[in-house]
Symmetry: C2
């Protein structure tokens, strides 16, 4: 018997009608002879409404323990309603909080890490022929306090539950029908990708593709959980994400490039005119990391105006711009560099594909495509299966379209985007 974990996000359960549609799909999957565990997020705007209430109470940041208690109410509501909707069809269904589903986390409220998953009650419900519904995004800490897993938490819950149950597949339902070669809102001719390796998916998620959260993909890679990203509005197959790529004849013809990710959430810090001595980069980057800011790309280059100094540039989440600049500025006197510059709203384009490993012309083709579109490249970084460039954010969408065409990713027809949000 096949065991599936089906994960539905907030927009899939936004109202009673959407909830009934999800229930029908779960019931059909159960009736087809599968064991089904469902992971569900809070309904549509619930989280925002709860945050708004907290804002009315606490002008400053609310206490994290209590914020987690507050937000965890959201999934309680959606999962209980979904269980009711499923039972309407005569299929027994039980909802479980993170605690009841055995989601044990550390004590880092708001961004808790899963330490252990012991879903005995979920397993017992499935074995008894019922559907188990698990609250996404939440767990219980080693101190027995309610915790939330932070952004992408429900995807992570689903993948972790699938790993613990040794599920055959973890299905991530969303309002698009899979992963695309680029964001269809920007590239209308983007094509749906039928399968990706987990490594490619990781690069896509890490560099701006929003369908799957990086953390969930990391979890899937670590525990070898097959993922299937598909639409909650249609029955057709979406994108399969598998660990490694099966060596069949098909794979000989795999395209070089799987897709293009883009990211508009970054800013760029540059420390200008750093006197050239060992350890300068480590000092700058270390100061920023100690300030709690995660660094994305780093580029160091010898300054053109003065051979004895260099510039260090790095990208960070734009929201951490002030913190990062302050951390670097604190080193200025000691290290003797000339200035700290900050550019907000930079754009990042990433070309991802396992095929580029053996294809040396990818980088040059990329740069040629960008040049042809008049896009100036500010920074470059590469991995074995990815090339990322930083450019002016106002050029980013043109850049994505030009590169998509240059690598022959365009489909003949425009992509269908459901739900209007493109997510």
């Amino acid at each position: 018997m096949t065991l599936l974990v089906m994960k539905f996000g907030g927009s899939s359960v936004a109202d009673a009608e959407a909830m009934r549609r999800v229930a029908q799909r779960v019931v059909a999957t159960h009736r087809a002879g599968n064991q089904v565990a469902v992971v569900v997020s809070a309904m549509g705007d619930t989280t925002d409404e709860l945050l708004d209430l907290a804002g009315q109470i606490s002008p400053g940041p609310p206490p994290e323990r209590e914020l987690d208690m507050l937000l965890s109410a959201g999934e309680r509501i959606s999962m209980a309603l979904l269980a009711m909707a499923i039972e309407q069809h005569g299929v027994p269904a039980k909802s479980f909080t993170g605690a009841q589903a055995g989601m044990r986390t550390d004590t880092a409220h708001g961004r808790a890490r899963l330490l252990d998953v012991q879903p005995e009650r979920v397993r017992a419900t499935l074995d008894a022929g019922g559907v188990a519904i698990v609250a996404g995004f939440q767990g219980i800490s080693t101190d027995d306090d309610i915790t939330t897993l932070g952004r992408g938490g429900s995807d992570t819950t689903a993948v972790a539950l699938a790993a613990a149950l040794d599920a055959d597949v973890c299905e991530i339902y969303t309002d698009v029908d899979g992963l695309y070669t680029a964001d269809p809102r920007i590239v209308p001719t983007a094509r749906r990708v039928t399968r990706l390796t987990i490594e490619e998916t990781l690069e896509m998620a890490a560099h701006g593709a929003k369908i799957l959260h990086l953390r969930a993909v990391e979890y899937a890679r670590r525990f070898h959980v097959p993922l299937h990203v598909r639409s909650s509005f249609s029955d057709k197959e979406g994108t399969w994400i598998l660990v490694g790529r099966p060596l069949t004849e098909d794979t000989m013809e795999e395209p070089i490039i799987s897709g293009i990710a883009h990211d508009k959430s970054l800013g760029k810090v540059t420390a200008v005119g750093i006197p050239d001595r060992p350890g300068a980069a480590a000092a700058v980057v270390g100061a920023v990391a100690r300030a709690g800011v995660s660094i994305d790309m780093i580029v160091q280059n010898v300054s053109t105006s003065d051979a004895h100094t260099s510039d260090i540039s790095f990208t960070i989440p734009d929201t951490d711009g002030q913190t990062a600049v302050a951390a670097v500025r604190a080193l200025q006197d000691e290290m003797g560099f000339a200035d700290v510059l900050y550019t907000s709203h930079v754009g990042k384009l990433s070309l991802v594909g396992a095929g580029m490993r053996s294809n040396p012309s990818v980088a040059s083709d990329l740069f040629a495509a960008l040049a042809g579109a008049g896009v100036n490249i500010e920074m470059i970084s590469t991995s074995e299966i990815r090339i990322s460039v930083i450019c002016d954010q106002s050029d980013l969408e043109d850049a994505v379209r030009a590169v998509h065409t240059a690598f022959e990713l365009d489909a003949e027809e425009d992509a269908v985007v459901y739900g209007g949000t493109g997510r």
Copy 2:
């Protein structure tokens, strides 16, 4: 050090402003050197909104386990927000779900009974100098499922917590400033009662007074928990409810009557012309009880038209009218009685006071007052400290006012009703 349990209902935490007012009161009580545990209900309309969502999903009655899961989200929201509001003042506060507060119940979803209360985490929070906030109305069953305690559940949580913590007092905050000699919406000259015995309170609650739920009062009597019913809008003392009455000089002058309760939620069933034989009453009442309907007052009298038959009348919750009539009707052929009559919307007036034990004229004074107001009495029942009469519901308010005046309960000024609801 004094240990208080403070209970706030949904209207006391209806919005952010009300929540902040409650927080100020809790903080002031804590700063005055008391240990404070708070029990809180869901905010204002939350429960109704959640029930409405459930109704959109399930046209029929929703599965009870899932309904409890759904409704329990309400207190999570209010208690987390209240903790945030208290922490704003620099006082550490932690909220606890029913499960975290050790509220173990049976498995009767929607009307669970508390089996055991083990509030170790609440105690630890108080001992560490913090305020503990406990979700009212909810617990965790012996099967580790979320349960709710049904009507009056938050009062019951508060009293049970006070008992388990051996609290000095359980304060029930509401939007009136105590218990009144009658409902001030009906009798504007009703007087606030400064103290009541637990037995009087039990009679008041059992016979229609709505401030305190019967179940919570029963719990308080069983575990000797002193109650203080007071206003969340003012600092003045409300009504103290104590087990037994202290034998001081004051008590010599206690009034005979403590107050008048009234109830509009009842209907009356009459089985007419039951052939006179032993066991007839037991058969009728037993059938109704087996149908799950709780019976309030019972009166049997020999029929005036025929000396060999009698009529049995009893009152029940009006909402159970059809069920009760069907249960009695099923006995009709076997027992050979003439008919089953049902009167919905009957009125019940109850006069309560420990002083009436030693005062034989109370009943006759009551009947005289009702006769003077033109109110026809349909049924009468008495206990040692209460006399109840059933009348036409359209006469009930006039009856309450007439009796209130006759027993010299009127104050010189009108009562102040806060919040507009009189509850």
